[in-house]
Symmetry: C2
Subunit: 168 residues, 2 copies
DNA sequence: GACTCATTCTTGAAAGTTGAACTATGTACG
DNA sequence: CGTACATAGTTCAACTTTCAAGAATGAGTC
């Protein structure tokens, strides 16, 4: 039995917590769906793929090692492999060998990929704005940022060194 | 050109907005992944499926019309059809014809499904708590609730009557 | 160098999702 | 009634994601 396994009565969610949790689930799934549809329609790819192109566009020489990209996009390497294969087929990304590590690959944004990004960025930003920033007060935006940072912190896949602190 | 199509310079995100947006994406994808894995491991189903069982468990007679369930779970009827087919194969849900509307189907939670829910609720709640409620202050929980409600409101698929107000 | 283990990335199959097409039934209206 | 259209739910094919292997290279140790 792990740290979660003691069978004492669990602390259920309070009513308020349940409501917040529901609201969270609804808002996040609605938004993700909304962005997926918008980008699928306009750019011909799901939101995650678009995010990959964005990350590449901001990297030096518009390229990143696969593992690096996977880490910063919070997806598995496997998923990334498939995704890059698809984006490569579209001509938006190309793979390059890494000279210093023969196992390695760079994913590099092509000019065509950059162009797709240029064409679709305004619509995408508008969608994000309309769903989030145009509806929240400045205070709320700040609060949201703080809240999301705290949550992400707790969920960050633990490094070897940060792992299981309660067992050390 | 639609309301989004005028080619004036789009309002890009400010630096703070970008950071908040990034944090939002990271936190939400990490959490969704985390819950998916936890439930896949412990309960043998993804988070969305678990959510369906929860909704059924809270409905009168533990059953809901397919469309109703799809609406409240924020997923398409198509996706729901597949999901219920899978859950039915597990013996956790059964389908029932609707007597008053021969097109209609109820999805009903079986006793076995209820039992799965009982067994896994503590672990699931613990995961949610650990990721969210244990890390946020009371104020933050309240703020998050308000923020998510505002966002969900803006994304709610428009009713026929609420549709396209700017065109009326 | 040879052994072992770690890391990088890919692959293949199974599972899940999507959007469009389809069946069947209900509803409105002449 | 009959026509037309709306709604409920399913199905199919294409696509995406997951998980478990697998191939290749790197790094540490003797």
């Amino acid at each position: 039995m792990g740290p979660m396994g003691d069978m004492t009565e669990p602390r259920w969610l309070t009513d308020e917590e349940q409501h917040v949790w529901r609201a969270y689930l609804h808002a996040t799934t609605l938004l993700e769906d909304h962005l997926d549809r918008q980008l699928q329609r306009d750019a011909g790819m799901p939101h995650v793929y678009y995010g990959l192109l964005v990350q590449l566009s901001q990297a030096p020489r518009r390229r990143l090692r696969m593992t690096e990209l996977a880490r910063s996009a919070k997806i598995t390497r496997s998923r990334l492999s498939h995704a890059i294969a698809r984006l490569e087929k579209n001509g938006w990304v190309r793979r390059e060998n890494c000279p210093s590590d023969k196992r390695g690959q760079f994913a590099q944004l092509t000019d065509e990929g950059m162009e797709v990004l240029r064409r679709n960025a305004p619509g995408h930003v508008a969608a994000v704005r309309q769903a989030m920033f145009d509806r929240l007060s400045a205070d709320q935006v700040e609060q949201l940022g703080a809240i999301m940072r705290v949550m992400a912190e707790g969920l960050e896949p633990a490094d070897a060194d940060a792992d299981l602190p309660w067992l050390r």
